[in-house]
């Protein structure tokens, strides 16, 4: 019987659900805390308890990404792969891949200095949405409606001056209802979808208190999400879409370590089971 390993840094409901599900299906499991696992360039797979396949579930993106690199160095199959994590973790790379693959996505502007970002604002006009290229839970995603706000945000970035602060990712503001759509894809399957209704603010992240509401999976949603999944390299993913009043659905990001503890209660399909099945099939291939 195969053994499934779940790598975590903070044991949440999701990781426990995955472990319980795998055990119920008769698979052996191991739970490995990334924070206390060490590697070196001579490390060998046999020194660890990674089983046949790993689900990488770290809450810290950089930790998970580099842990994934170590797993791939040891030739341990890991979901998602380093390449997929690297792409999805970076909104700029994701936007480019979506566009290259003809998936409707908001028009996005990239610039690499404060002056050049200001020029984007002047040429394109307001409103625009600014986002850190790496980040989640709506952190530092801000609608910018006028020059004063743009000036303030750019000035603030020059003060903090981190490596990410010099990379400006500005996006057209989508005219949409006060909600977006989150779809979980597992391989070439759509597993569940929900609307996330804003609790009043601009952003619709569940982490910020948005209300989840089950969303019917239309052919349109299915087709777009499968294309988006393929575009970033596939795996277990959380795809975010907005309903543009003019253009219809647009995909704005793909998440690499999808949270599902809310959705699991209302989804028709058994989300953890789909994920475990996928992991097992991943190693059979």
């Amino acid at each position: 019987m195969q053994k499934i390993c779940i790598v975590f840094d903070r044991l949440r409901t999701e990781e426990k659900l995955l472990q319980t599900q795998a055990s119920e299906m008769g698979y052996e499991t191991s739970m490995i805390d990334a924070k206390i696992t060490r590697f070196n360039t001579d490390s060998n797979k046999s020194e660890y308890d990674f089983g046949d396949v790993v689900l990488e579930r770290c809450i810290s993106y950089y930790r998970g990404l580099h842990f994934t690199a170590c797993l791939e160095f040891l030739n341990v199959p890991v979901i998602n792969s380093f390449e997929v994590s690297n792409t999805c973790g970076n909104k700029m790379i994701t936007s480019m891949l979506l566009k290259k693959n003809n998936i409707p996505t908001p028009k996005t502007y990239f610039s690499f200095s404060a002056e050049s970002a200001m020029e984007h604002f002047e040429k394109v006009g307001y409103p625009l949405v600014i986002k850190p290229i790496i980040g989640s839970w709506g952190r530092s995603v801000m609608p910018i409606k006028d020059k004063d706000t743009a000036d303030a945000i750019i000035e603030n970035r020059q003060v903090t001056d981190g490596p990410q602060d010099r990379i400006y990712y500005l996006q057209e503001m989508i005219d949409r209802p006060p909600r977006d759509i989150r779809v979980i894809t597992v391989g070439d399957q759509i597993v569940a979808a929900m609307y996330r209704k804003s609790s009043g603010g601009f952003k619709t992240n569940i982490a910020l208190g948005a209300e989840p509401e089950i969303c019917k999976i239309t052919n349109d949603i299915e087709e777009l999400c499968l294309k988006a999944s393929k575009a970033v390299g596939g795996g277990i993913l959380g795809i975010d879409l907005m309903e543009d009043k003019n253009r219809g659905l647009v995909v704005h990001e793909v998440n690499n370590t999808v949270e599902f503890k809310g959705l699991v209660k209302v989804a028709e399909k058994n989300i953890p089971k789909e994920m475990i099945d996928f992991a097992i099939n991943y190693i059979r291939k």
Partner: protein
């Protein structure tokens, strides 16, 4: 088990596992369960939310 910060009684569920976070109801401090063998429980300071945390 008492809260290392404020000494209030910490409620740790029986089915809590290593790696899980428990919060002190009194002072709000977060702890990660570092070791749990029966009633032998060790806590460590939980990590604080990082700029790269999330999905």
């Amino acid at each position: 088990m008492n809260c290392p910060e404020c000494d209030a009684n910490l409620n740790i569920p029986d089915d809590a596992a290593v790696g899980e976070i428990v919060s002190c109801a009194d002072c709000g401090a977060d702890y990660e369960i570092a070791k749990k063998e029966g009633s032998d429980i060790e806590l460590k300071q939980a990590e604080t939310v990082g700029e790269d945390w999330g999905e």
